[in-house]
Symmetry: C2
Subunit: 347 residues, 2 copies
DNA sequence: GTGAAAGCGCTAACAC
DNA sequence: GTGTTAGCGCTTTCAC
């Protein structure tokens, strides 16, 4: 019952011309090389028969599938869907579809998935993973496959990357806390095998120097995952250490949320006693009390930008026209989880 | 610089056999028809050269692309990512990749996207949209393309569908409210052009009958979108009508969240004065106070089930082996937003 | 058990 | 301006 598709051959038979003529008539650029009358007759027949081009066949011939691969750690992480919509918003109108794969931040899975995408002949890959280094994607790029990375860069490679200005985000946030009078500021760092975790810790250290604040390694707790449980654990560790602090700058929102919860468990009020800040500005944040002060990143734009650069690569634009580095601005969003420094936690 | 791929021909040249022999040696089922020695020599050469099959070419020949299409309304809606992971969890190990498209619940976009998927030769489509009817997907199915729908059924079609037992969810929730002593129970209904909105309203009406509660049309407010703003507006309308109620059963979590917020604006405490319930049990719900009592649906399982049924269809299983209807169980999750009925709101 | 040959649907040289 | 031809990389029928 699987109905057979209408092919160029069917239209050729119907209109009495050769397949190649049909092919040309239906190709917007080649169409001008065909008598208008014939072209429109062909077009009419195609419409009447309900012709749909077989992109598989075209792809085999042209080596362009009009498909791109998008690699992300995990689609259930709320920061990625907006990025995907951003990518789609530029690629889809141009006729591209995307194959999205989840790496779960596992190295071997990641390189397997690169192969999966290449086997399917994707015209390019947008790689929004968070692993710090990744040979397979670099190899693909070196072999000539258009690749751009999002959120991180691959060292020693010619792969264009789009990142958020995390340094600025962390620095502005630290400045915000300093301006509120905080001096003993803890940092709840993310996993150090993820680029975001590592970058933000480095940014925190640099920002402290910039702002003439003392960097206190003993006030840094490192999470093993970017989730609420680890945020809570970080606070517990900090509290258990007996150190004193009036603010906690967290490497992402979920750590911050866990931190606030754990502080509450210990009878410590945020923001009255301890200020807490996040990073990412994930959805639904304004429904959670206290509303979190955080760093907003431009997820949708990041996706759009990545797609735009990938297009340039796929179009074979001149190397000098392709931006190797794009740093997107971030902004801090001050809500309710930060307040002027009050009495120190514990004595 | 785009490196040329290794093809069967290269391996054939390398090993001194014919391409068709190489093809057979590399095909797990055909391999047995080849002398083991030759087969392993070919395998070795393939590995050495780093051969990767070109699925585009194979697809053109076999009419199977090992790619499925997945249509959802909007990936940024948190209920969909888990469904996608569920789908992926069964399809990916079998070598399938998926092309995900967002319909934005627009009819014309939806039918265009069906074509986009078919042009790419997907082997099947999982359609998790929420529009009530949709001719294009029905047509595709009628023409023999394997299709299954998630969350809704297409009337008068032979398309297998997977739905959640929403009737039971609404009924259990209403029972929960009744058991807490509530009698004047409002319903914040979802958009009536979406199947979930319509189904849940019908379920509410039926459940009222089942539980011997009066169904009060004047206590039903209908949202235009499934979001917090509309939840708030629904409550405003209900309050403005001067009607009295002690509980609000909402058609989804976001409406419920907006409702609770708006009640608070009016100085009405949830759950002390009015109980509010949601539907979906979306992520992060346990971070929002009061923690919402809601209906949990099995998103991951729904995806897995849809993928499994699609596989049966794609494998050409006998019709009687393919479940036309799968109703997944739901469970109510009682948290903090419901409490015994107290004094009525307003007098 | 292996080779030869055809062909999936399309595009792109080249011919006329 | 249109037809002819070849071929993308693979699978599969048919020989031997």
């Amino acid at each position: 019952m699987r109905q057979k598709r209408i092919t160029l051959k069917d239209i050729a038979r119907e209109t009495g011309v050769h397949v190649s003529t049909v092919s040309r008539a239906l190709d917007p650029v080649e169409r001008k090389s065909i008598t208008e009358e014939v072209a429109s007759r062909i077009q009419a027949a195609a419409d009447a028969l309900g012709y749909r081009p077989n992109r598989i066949a075209a792809g085999l011939r042209t080596n362009r599938t009009m498909t791109v691969g998008v690699m992300i750690p995990d689609i259930t992480n709320v920061i990625f869907p907006p990025i995907l919509r951003g990518i789609e918003s530029v690629l889809e109108p141009l006729g591209y579809a995307s194959i999205i794969v989840n790496t779960d931040s596992e190295r071997d899975r990641e390189s397997r998935l690169v192969d999966v995408l290449r086997d399917r002949g994707v015209d390019g890959i947008i790689h929004a993973a968070v692993l710090r280094s990744d040979p397979s994607i670099a190899r693909a790029a070196a072999e000539g496959l258009p690749v751009v990375t999002l959120n991180r860069m691959v060292e020693n490679s010619q792969i264009p990357y789009i990142i958020n200005d995390e340094d600025a985000g962390i620095c502005e946030m630290l400045r915000h806390l300093r301006d509120l009078g905080h001096r003993d500021i803890a940092h709840l760092a993310g996993p150090q095998d993820l680029s975001t975790g590592q970058l933000r810790l480095a940014a925190f250290r640099n920002a402290a120097a910039t702002l003439s604040l003392e960097f206190r390694p003993d006030l840094v707790a490192t999470a093993r995952r970017f989730d609420e449980q680890e945020g809570a654990r970080g606070i517990r560790d900090l509290l258990a250490s007996g150190r004193t602090f009036t603010a906690v700058l967290c490497a992402n929102d979920r750590l911050a949320l866990g931190a606030i919860d754990e502080l509450r468990e210990h009878g410590i009020d945020c923001p009255r006693e301890v200020s807490v800040t996040g990073f990412n500005d994930m959805p639904f944040l304004d429904l959670i009390r206290p509303r979190l002060t955080t760093v907003r990143i431009l997820q949708h734009s990041a996706g759009q930008t990545a797609a735009t650069v990938l297009l340039q690569l796929m179009n074979g634009d001149k190397a000098e026209d392709i931006p190797m580095e794009t740093i997107l601005p971030v902004e801090i969003v001050v809500r309710e989880s930060t307040a002027p420094a009050g009495s120190l936690v514990r004595s």
